[in-house]
Each structure stands twice: as C-alpha cells, then as structure tokens.
C-alpha cells in the first residue's frame, strides 16, 4: 500500500460519522486492504461476546426437518409450525393405528372376493370415525404426558385444541382418501365418507363444550358405529346408498354447519383436555 494507514483519531471520527465523505471512502477501501488497520478497530468485549453467542446458538440450532420445511412452504407462521411439528412422540401412535385400520380394510376388500360389498361398507363406516378418534386420542391427559405443563402456558385454550385437531384431522383425512381411492368399487366411495367425517369431527368438538373431549368422541363415534353399522349389516344393499346418498350427504353438511355455529358460539367452553 501507499504507506498511508488509518490512525486512531481518524478511526474515532469514522465511527462517529464526522469524517468528510471522501475520507470515509478512503477508510472503507483501506480497511478492506490492510489487515493491521482492521485490527485497530476496537469494540466493547461485551458486545463481541454477546454477538458471538447468538452466532453460536444459530450454529447449534436443530436442523428443520422435511415436515417443517413443507409447512413453511405453505405459509404457516413459525410458532404454529413448532406447535404442529413439536410432538413426534405422540404422532406415531395414532398414525400407526389409522394406517393399520385403513390398510386392513383395503386388504379385506381385495381378499374377500365374494363379500366385496361387506368390505366396502366396513371402510365407509369406519373411516368417518378415524378423524374423531385421532382428535380424541392424539392429545389430552391419556395420551400427552406434557398436558399439565401445556395447560399452564399462555398458548393453552380453544385455539390450541383447534390447531391440534385441525392437524390430526388433516392427516387422517389424507390417509382415508388414499385408502378409499385404492378401494375397488364405485368411484364415489372415495369421497362419500368425507362429509360424515367432517360432521363427526366438528360435532365432537362442539359436544366437548358440554362434556369432556374423549367422552364426546365416544358418544358421537358410538352413535355412528351403532346406527350406521347396524343398518348396513342388516340391509346391506339398500342401506348403503341411503346412508351415503345425496339426501343424506346434504343432511350431513347442514348438521356439520350447525355444529360449526355451536362451536363458534360456545368456543370459550371448549374442553382443553383438562378438568377445571
């Protein structure tokens, strides 16, 4: 270099912003080129340590998994992603259970050649209950060992229950659709169970403003299984189009909307999975 170096006074003026512009540019370019002048720049050691600790934390932050990245792609805010993706220990139990039930239903449909109608009916009857079971068992006292701690956080309450319910229902519905598509039989079977499933899930949440969540799930799921299950078993050929027919589907839709209204009105009484 030209033998010219940045001295202490110049550096202090540079830091204060009192240098004329051309001198600022000169210091800028010189700092880039001269290692000894770079070392002249002094900072508060406290600042240096604090700044480093943030960098250090960032280096050791757990890497975000594929699920995390996918949810971020969907545009969910970061704290919701944490909430949804943070309970891997709980995920596998109900994921495994749902997958097993659906796989058995589909396998039965292919294996039982003579009784094809029976197996189709089994899937259609059981599938709507699966999201409800998922909602009831994925979180809350029996399944979640952290529920007491969760309930003391500001995040607890109806919003938390609804976010978690939405998460498990989404997964359960996706798995149900996959199983239904694999099913032999008329194409509309693949979607026929969706509205009953919606009704049962929302209905369970609505009912849980009155009684505990697992009890609500048990009551509604039991009614569905007992009622529809019996009807389908006794009058197999005539009742299946009736239960999943056009009129019935409209009825499910209206009932589900009613349940949404009830849920909205009574949302403050939603059972957060803990007796009060």
């Amino acid at each position: 270099m030209s033998g010219w170096h940045v001295d202490e006074g110049l550096l202090a003026d540079y830091d204060r912003g009192t240098l004329p512009p051309s001198r600022v540019l000169a210091v800028d370019t010189h700092l880039l080129a001269c290692a000894s002048c770079r070392e002249q720049v002094r900072v508060d050691p406290v600042w240096l340590t604090g700044n480093w600790s943030v960098v250090f934390d960032a280096l050791h932050e757990p890497r975000s998994g594929p699920l995390h990245r996918f949810l971020r792609r969907l545009g969910l805010p970061e704290h919701r992603i944490r909430l949804i993706a943070a309970t891997p220990a709980l995920r596998w139990s109900w994921l495994g259970a749902t997958a097993t039930v659906l796989a058995l239903a589909v396998a039965a449909a292919y294996l039982g050649r003579g009784g094809m109608q029976v197996s189709n009916a089994v899937l259609l009857v059981v599938a709507p209950v699966l999201p409800v079971l998922a909602v009831a068992t994925a979180y809350g006292p029996p399944a979640d060992p952290m529920h007491e701690i969760t309930d003391t956080t500001p995040a607890a309450g109806p919003a938390l229950v609804l976010w978690r319910a939405t998460t498990v229902v989404t997964v359960a519905v996706v798995m149900g659709v996959v199983a239904a598509v694999l099913l032999p039989g008329p194409g509309w079977y693949a979607v026929a169970w969706l509205l009953p499933a919606l009704l049962l899930s929302v209905g369970t949440l609505a009912l849980s403003t009155v009684i505990a969540l697992p009890a609500a799930a048990g009551v509604l799921g039991g009614i569905w299984l007992a009622g529809v299950g019996t009807a389908v078993t006794i009058h197999r050929d005539s009742s299946l189009p009736l239960v999943f027919g056009r009129t019935a589907q409209l009825g499910y839709l209206f009932a589900a909307m009613t349940a949404v209204v009830v849920l909205t009105v009574r949302r403050r009484r939603l059972d957060p999975g803990e007796t009060r």
């Binding site: 550096l11 540019l25 800028d28 880039l32």
Partner: protein, 184 residues
C-alpha cells in the same frame, strides 16, 4: 491430521478449518473480523440492531458456505465483506421479527478481486478524486459507495438505500458523469 488453529493462523487457514466444521476457527474469525465489519456496516445503516443481526447472519453464512471460499480463492477479508454487505441488505429487507438464519438464500458467486474503481479509490486520500467525491451530492455519492466500494449490484444498492432500481440506475449514471466532469 487436523492442524490446531490459534490467533496467529491466517484467514484462509481459518476458513479452511471452518469448512471442516470447526466452531473454534469460526470464533477466531469472529473475533478478528466482527469489529471492523460492525464499524463499516454502521456507516451504511443507522439502526444498530439491524447491523448486529447482519454481523451475526454473516458468520452463520460463513459457517455454511466456508467450503465455497476455496473455490473463489479471493482475499478472505474481501470475501467476508461481500457476504456482510449482502446480509445487511437482507436484514433491512426482512421482517422485523424473524428467526435468525431462517431463510438464508444461497450466496451468489461473485468475484471479489478488486475492481478498477476500487484500485483507483485505494489512492483516494491523495489527489483530485477525494475533492471530487466531496463535491458530489449525497444521493449520488451513496450510490458510488454502494456499488464501487461495497461491491453490491445496482439492484442490491437500491434495496440498501430504499429506492427503486430504475432510480438507482439513473443516479449511478449521473454520478459517474458528474465525477468525470469534476475530474476534468
């Protein structure tokens, strides 16, 4: 096979160790480079918090991209500065409350060899150029600073200065024309 690093190690050696995943080497780089990076970035952004975030992001980016330094073979300080200037632009652009190191876009491959303008500016403390720079109006001067000194593209400079890209292009042309005028 891993050679120990200490204060006397060169920047290139330290970057090599960082590429091998050694946090102590990054710490040494941080101690050596964070102070002057902060000083320079503060001349470009009045918000001390944003500058701090930019410095932090710079070292996180170095941690992830140190293996790319070998390929460019440029001067380590210039390479680090290129990252820092771009991190400042993204820190200014990003939302106020984001997670550190959250969505870091990959670094563009840029040549960090000194440009002709930089070589001229190294001699800025002598001669007419300094006087000409002083007489340039501030909004033209900041563009010369962002493009010639900081090595940003016109688009990045526009983001840093909070003006439209077209405006930045026009001003840069005017600034060069004015400088030529003042120097002749």
């Amino acid at each position: 096979m891993e050679r120990p690093v200490d204060e006397s190690s060169g920047d290139a050696e330290l970057l090599g160790a960082v590429a091998a995943g050694r946090a102590d080497a990054l710490r040494l780089l941080h101690q050596r480079h964070a102070p002057w990076l902060r000083a320079r970035l503060r001349r470009r952004c009045a918000d001390a918090d944003v500058v701090d975030i930019a410095v932090q992001d710079t070292f996180v980016a170095i941690w992830k991209d140190a293996h790319r330094y070998e390929a460019t073979g440029a001067d380590a300080a210039a390479w680090i500065w290129t990252i820092a200037a771009r991190r400042l632009v993204s820190a200014l652009r990003g939302p106020a409350h984001r997670w550190l190191g959250g969505v870091a876009e990959p670094l563009p491959d840029v040549a960090t060899a000194p440009s002709a303008e930089e070589l001229v500016l190294l001699g800025i403390e002598h001669g007419d150029l300094g006087a000409a720079i002083d007489r340039l109006s501030p909004e033209l001067r900041v563009l010369i600073q962002a493009t010639a000194i900081d090595g940003l593209t016109v688009r990045e400079s526009a983001k840093l200065l909070g003006i439209a890209e077209g405006t930045a292009k026009t001003r840069l042309l005017r600034a060069r024309a004015r400088l030529r005028e003042l120097l002749t």
